[in-house]
Symmetry: C2
């Protein structure tokens, strides 16, 4: 039995009927012609990876991914550069996080570099789907689910790892608009001793209800608070950054620390890496409470606030609806867009992963 | 478009090749010949319910149940009585909880009594699968999943409600054995502002890792603690009860209150209903901390402790592994079995739901 996924064993079955590429698409609804699937079982280990025509999965109705949330995913993008080459953005960070989520979900271990090589092969086959644009990209969604056909609550003895691809439209379209956040301590995204630092499905399904309550209040996303001191943790499905003059009068870019309830975002890490390289202001992973933010807003010490994530990249925050009123219209909504653009370009230079060989 | 599931529209497609019934089975791995499926979409509402041969589901690889844990389930049992009649145990409580989970998961509403009627029809068709035994039963697993083929984190515009059935072996086989619990505050099952009071998949997938750590310590289940005062909340996938002489010297049967982090178990509610009817000791929904339990154990004030749930019914607790040592061997391990048996018989009398008409 194979204890590793082996890219050398990859079998490719090309689609006899490739689709035409749509001009403009909503994120996450039009998929490419092929997908990667790798099956695992306790008795036989990893099967040969297979690139095959995109299509539905046939799943037993009792499988553990549908009943007990034994599932996880990743999200990363491939860009077409001005030089025509395709680049994955820091994919080793995604592989590492995927391995960490798999351990937490009691799904089997896999060889990260072998899986990445299989993904590279899939992207290579689908390269015509990568938009000819600096602002759009092809989104890669690795997914890993338990498929054992049993209702016992236990480690699955069968699992399926698969990767699908879809076009991600230009994020510049909506990027100028600052989002409004709804901050109410009555919902919690993640908690100490839970799985909020992993990309497991349950973290998202559980968050949806609050998202619609935010919309009922006229806001676009939830500002997730935690604990009695109402720590600021994440915004919607993004990490959060505050650029401010802190309590000690220092200019600081701050984001909550990875203490178990924060998703270790690749964009988050990239922003920290780059701004530390700039060495222009203090860059901190530290706790931030609503009381501290409100005080800073009153004293006009807030420069900007933004969310970060693979899908939105950098998302400026304009309003926070808190304790029944709009707390503030944050200043300099647009600065972060430039930060985002610079951040992104720089990070690509520091770690590129060419798809073409 | 149908805003309700309508049992009158039920379409039945009988299996041409029914399976032979196995003599003895593991829980949750052998399913009956048919399943109930009901499809829903935002544009067309609920489709006609369909009873059809049991088989795999064909799911889009991007569907929200596999990525974002938009999924929930229920569990209830049908018993064959000495009079030959089939009875569902308090199914309206399961339908009510299922509706509550659906709301929390942003899945559509359904008519509880119409769904129950569809389930009754399914059980009627599969009645030969109900064991001819007082101690075994047929387990019913309603499941509700988001099926929209899109990676957007949003309310699904398509969903599938389905019901599968499997034999549940005699729980008396293992019932005499008291289980050992591993109590470590480092993992949390559920938290205020989360979805621990709903039967959503994410609650279970997230708990699995701790379960295996418990086994590494030689224990069978996790005793889930909560908060700085280490409140006792649940045991494994069961509610928990403590029968003791409380701090005020009163004989008390206590279980944690439904404050948002406790699953509102049907067996839990039945135990409360029946013991209150007995009127023999104080019956309380109250907080219980590890400190209170340890103190009571030292002073020999603990009569018994047990878990409750649909699968295990009543599960006596023998040991708790806490802070590096076996805290206690609990007394009177067997009493609760009798309590369970009496509880069960009484509750069936107070609410029966005959399958046969």
């Amino acid at each position: 039995s194979n204890i590793f996924i082996l890219a050398a064993d990859l079998v490719v079955q090309l689609s006899p009927a490739p689709k035409s590429k749509p001009a403009e698409v909503d994120f996450g609804s039009v998929f490419t012609d092929h997908m990667l699937t790798v099956e695992w079982s306790l008795t036989e280990g990893w099967q040969a990876p297979l690139i095959r025509p995109f299509g539905n999965l046939s799943l037993h109705p009792a499988c553990s991914s549908l009943h007990y949330g034994i599932q996880l995913f990743e999200g990363l993008k491939v860009y077409r550069g001005d030089d025509g080459r395709l680049r994955l953005f820091r994919p080793t960070l995604n592989m590492k996080r995927m391995a960490s989520s798999a351990k937490r979900a009691c799904l089997p271990a896999f060889d990260q570099s072998e899986l990445l090589e299989c993904i590279r092969r899939l992207v290579e086959i689908e390269q015509d789907w990568v938009p000819h644009s600096n602002s759009a990209s092809l989104y890669i969604r690795p997914t890993f689910i338990g498929t054992e056909p049993s209702l016992g609550v236990k480690k699955p003895a069968r699992a399926l790892l698969y990767v699908i691809l879809c076009q991600a439209g230009s994020y510049f379209d909506t990027k100028n608009e600052a989002v409004s956040l709804w901050a109410d301590p009555k919902y919690t995204r993640a908690w100490k001793g839970g799985s909020g630092d992993c990309k497991m499905g349950g973290n998202y399904g559980c968050s949806l209800f609050a998202q619609y309550e935010a919309e009922d209040y006229g806001c676009q996303q939830v500002l997730w608070l935690y604990g009695d001191d109402q720590q600021i943790t994440e915004a919607g499905t993004m990490n959060i950054f505050l650029h401010w003059i802190n309590e000690d009068g220092e200019e600081e870019l701050a984001t909550p620390p990875l203490d178990g309830i924060i998703l270790p975002g690749v964009t988050r890490q990239s922003i920290l890496d780059i701004t530390r390289e700039w060495n222009e202001f203090l860059v901190s992973e530290r706790y931030l409470t609503m009381a501290q933010l409100c005080s800073a807003l009153r004293q006009q010490r807030v420069r900007e606030m933004f969310g970060s994530g693979t899908a939105a990249m950098i998302c400026p925050i304009g309003h926070i609806f808190y304790q029944g009123e709009i707390t503030s219209r944050l200043a300099k909504e647009l600065t972060d867009i430039q930060v985002g653009a610079r951040t992104h370009a720089r990070t690509q230079k520091t770690e590129v992963n060419d798809v073409s060989r």
